[in-house]
């Protein structure tokens, strides 16, 4: 089953500019880039699913193991996300506890 096409167009256009294209990248290029990206992600999913039919985060990381840049970035993002979540729970706990009390 294929997901709906063209869900990342906006981000892709911004990122192309951010990474070096002109301020208003050509529509054709953006569309092609998005297609390349969705192919890339789908291929990744295929690979992940071949490792584990019910993929966990670790399986995604495993698939990225040969791409040190992406893998390192993924670890970094996960660490940051963890930190954010922890900070949020600390804040959330306060009203919750007072509500219970």
């Amino acid at each position: 089953m294929r997901p709906p096409k063209r869900v990342f167009t906006r981000e892709v256009r911004l990122l192309m500019y951010g990474f070096g294209d002109v301020a208003h990248p050509s529509q054709d290029s953006v569309e092609l880039m998005e297609e390349m990206l969705t192919t890339y992600i789908s291929d990744m999913c295929e690979k992940v699913q071949s490792i584990n039919p019910k993929p966990k985060t670790a399986d995604f990381l495993h698939v990225l193991r040969r791409d040190p840049k992406k893998r390192a970035r993924a670890h970094e993002l996960l660490a940051l996300d963890k930190e954010l979540k922890r900070a949020r729970t600390i804040f959330d706990d306060v009203p919750e506890m007072s509500g219970k009390a």
């Binding site: 997901p3 990122l15 070096g20 294209d21 880039m33 985060t57 193991r65 390192a72």
Partner: protein, 190 residues
């Protein structure tokens, strides 16, 4: 297409690239505050240091991977804010604008999660979506940068055209250093 990348052209092409390089190592921080330091100015230093210390035989794949990861992860911890500011100060207005877009633009976790669930046909954890979203941003960055290289070789200027992207993708797939997911070799773009 003749390959005559004159010095002039090179410089015109390099300008946007320079703006993009600083983030090579730090792209895609979905939803994260901009407290994340930019590693670029420091990246070269740890790079060198690491190279000096760890002159290990490159036969060991795992070792090598870890080294590279260290290089990429380390600069975050002790990022040289001064150097970062100094670098930003040298940016032209255009470069600053581009840099801001580069830092801010990212794939939303939610959107990525939905997309993944559509592809996989099952639930996917949020952290998986974060991993893929980060990889996706880097992928777009790599493709854009490669397309720029192609343009430079072909002596083209202006915006990236689909043919540049196709060539970049072709090279990406044949680059043994790159991660090529299963199946992408068989696949051809229309």
């Amino acid at each position: 297409m003749d390959d005559r990348p004159s010095k002039k052209r090179k410089s015109t092409v390099k300008i946007p690239k320079r703006a993009s390089t600083p983030g090579n190592e730090s792209p895609s921080s979905p939803n994260l505050p901009s407290t994340v330091p930019i590693p670029d100015p420091t990246v070269t230093k740890p790079d060198d240091a690491e190279g000096d210390i760890a002159e290990e035989p490159k036969d060991d794949d795992v070792e090598l991977d870890d080294d590279i990861e260290d290089e990429l992860l380390h600069p975050r911890k002790g990022v040289d804010k001064e150097a970062e500011r100094a670098l930003l100060a040298t940016f032209t207005q255009e470069q600053v604008q581009r840099y801001e877009v580069f830092r801010r633009a990212h794939f939303q976790k939610g959107g990525m999660k939905k997309f993944l669930q559509g592809v996989l046909g099952q639930n996917v954890s949020e952290s998986s979506a974060i991993v893929v979203a980060g990889a996706a941003k880097l992928f777009v960055g790599e493709m854009t940068e490669k397309a720029r290289e192609v343009m430079e070789e072909w002596g083209d200027t202006g915006g990236i055209q689909p043919e540049h992207l196709r060539e970049a993708y072709r090279r990406y797939k044949h680059d043994p250093a790159s991660f090529t997911p299963a199946g992408s070799k068989k696949r051809l773009f229309r």
